[in-house]
């Protein structure tokens, strides 16, 4: 599903954010990406969605080498990946329904199909009945669920989450992580960047550790 081969990333005017990173995540696998703040977790995820390009090395997603992907192909790559952010990145002037529908509309699905999938996604994250609410009327945990529903609505084979529980209390965090585990059980590959080590240990999935841009543990599959 994901393959990094000797990947380096250097931002203009900065040091190496990633150094010689090598790993694979197979289809249907779930793993955590941990490390101190500034270790390069977000950078690694940005390489997967082609928000950033590797300075050196190769990145494959679903068999496609995206290291030098053409800009006009990027949207189609991103449609195959569901992404969840710490700050949700919801549209606050749209209803929950419209937020979740956005990737489906973007992908050009017809009206009936959009409805069906939005309802299915809401159902999975336990927010049925909230489609007409606006995100700001929801709690932090609920907003994150909207973000997750949006990410899974298009049924992507891969989910990425960057600190999805960063702003949530431990109980809500566990709920959210369990939600990811549920999607993983039906075959979705999941990669979650987090520094909530307690929680990660408790869940017991593969753990990859970044330290100053180097992958120091978990590079090999378990």
């Amino acid at each position: 599903m994901i393959r990094f081969s000797e990947v380096f990333k250097r931002y203009p005017g900065g040091g190496d954010a990633l150094k010689n990173v090598d790993f694979r995540l197979v289809a249907g696998e779930m793993a955590f990406l941990t490390g101190h703040s500034g270790a390069g977790k977000s950078t690694l995820l940005k390489l997967i969605t082609a928000i950033e390009r590797p300075t050196r090395g190769q990145v494959w997603i679903g068999g496609e080498n995206i290291s030098r992907i053409k800009p006009r192909k990027v949207p189609y790559l991103r449609r195959r990946i569901g992404v969840i952010f710490q700050d949700h990145k919801l549209l606050y002037d749209r209803t929950v329904y419209d937020n979740i529908a956005l990737p489906l509309v973007v992908a050009g699905l017809n009206h009936a199909e959009v409805r069906r999938r939005v309802r299915a996604a809401l159902d999975k994250v336990g927010l049925l009945g909230k489609e007409r609410s606006y995100p700001l009327t929801l709690s932090g945990g609920e907003q994150q669920r909207v973000g997750i529903a949006r990410a899974v609505a298009g049924k992507p084979p891969l989910l990425l989450a960057d600190e999805p529980t960063g702003n949530l209390d431990p109980e809500l965090s566990l709920e959210i992580m369990n939600l990811f585990a549920e999607f993983n059980r039906v075959g979705v590959a999941v990669l979650i960047a987090s520094h909530d080590l307690e929680l990660i240990k408790q869940l017991g999935y593969r753990q990859m550790v970044l330290d100053h841009g180097e992958l120091v543990a978990g590079g090999e599959q378990v």
Binding site: T49, I51, R72, P75, Y76, L77, R78, R79, V83, K89, L90, L91, L102, P103, V105, V106, A107, G108, N110, R150, G154
Partner: protein, 304 residues
Amino acid sequence: MRELSIRHLQAFFFSLGQLWRTRWGTAMSVAVIAVSLTLPSGLYLVLQLTDQISADWQGGAEISLFLKPKVSDAAALKLAGQLQQQPGIAAADYVSATAALEEFRQKSGFGSALDLLDANPLPSLLRVRPQTDQADPAQIAVWLEEFKALPEVEAAEFDYAWVQRLHGIVQVGRQLALMVSLLLGGGVVLIIGNTIRLAIFNRRDEIEISKLIGATNAFIRRPFLYSGFQQGALGGASALLLVYGSLGLLAPAADRLAGFYQSQFTLQIIGWVELLLLPLIGGLLGLVGAWLAVSRHLRDIEPG
């Protein structure tokens, strides 16, 4: 194909909705666009009026061919027939010397004085009327030379100084209208370009998020392009109302003016095509403005 048209419809109504949500801002820019489009359209209408008057004049204008005394009625009629066949000539009427004298007698009031003459002093003549659209000074000059060279013709006359003058005025007016149109049309492009630029920045987050979840540039562009077109078209439609509103106010004066020149100017009932032209022009200008803004600024907004 059907899918694509559905997406266009979506973008169309979405951007209409956005315009409504920001209706005061929209109203302002639409008003500015309307004023910018009203001025050149008004100019064109005034020009059209002038053209109409001058056409009426030129329609009445004629070249007089004074015939040599030895030319017989039959020969003159034959010449008239030939001239009438020439392209660009609407009519050629023969006025015999006797008829000319009779006409002069009636119009001048010198009837009894003329009776004292024992011979008719007037030559017979042909009155040649050019077709309205052919009556430009250059063409008339060419004809004059041609006619003068005819063996039957003693002299050919045409008082074309005023035609030339009027023609010149209309020409200058045309150029002025063209310049004003270009300037204000450019203004409309800039106004809409700026409005769209602001809209792009206001919806920065949305654009960024859309890109993150796989929206193509075309998808993101579409509502902004529609928005530009819609604002321009609304501005054009408002300009149409303004132009015809002010024409209604000006009509009596215009009629009077036209009357001075023995011409009739009537506010013409405009056809569908002309009715749609102004909103269409506005819409296209808006589209251009939006395109400029979009191609300039959308690229800068990338998720990071």
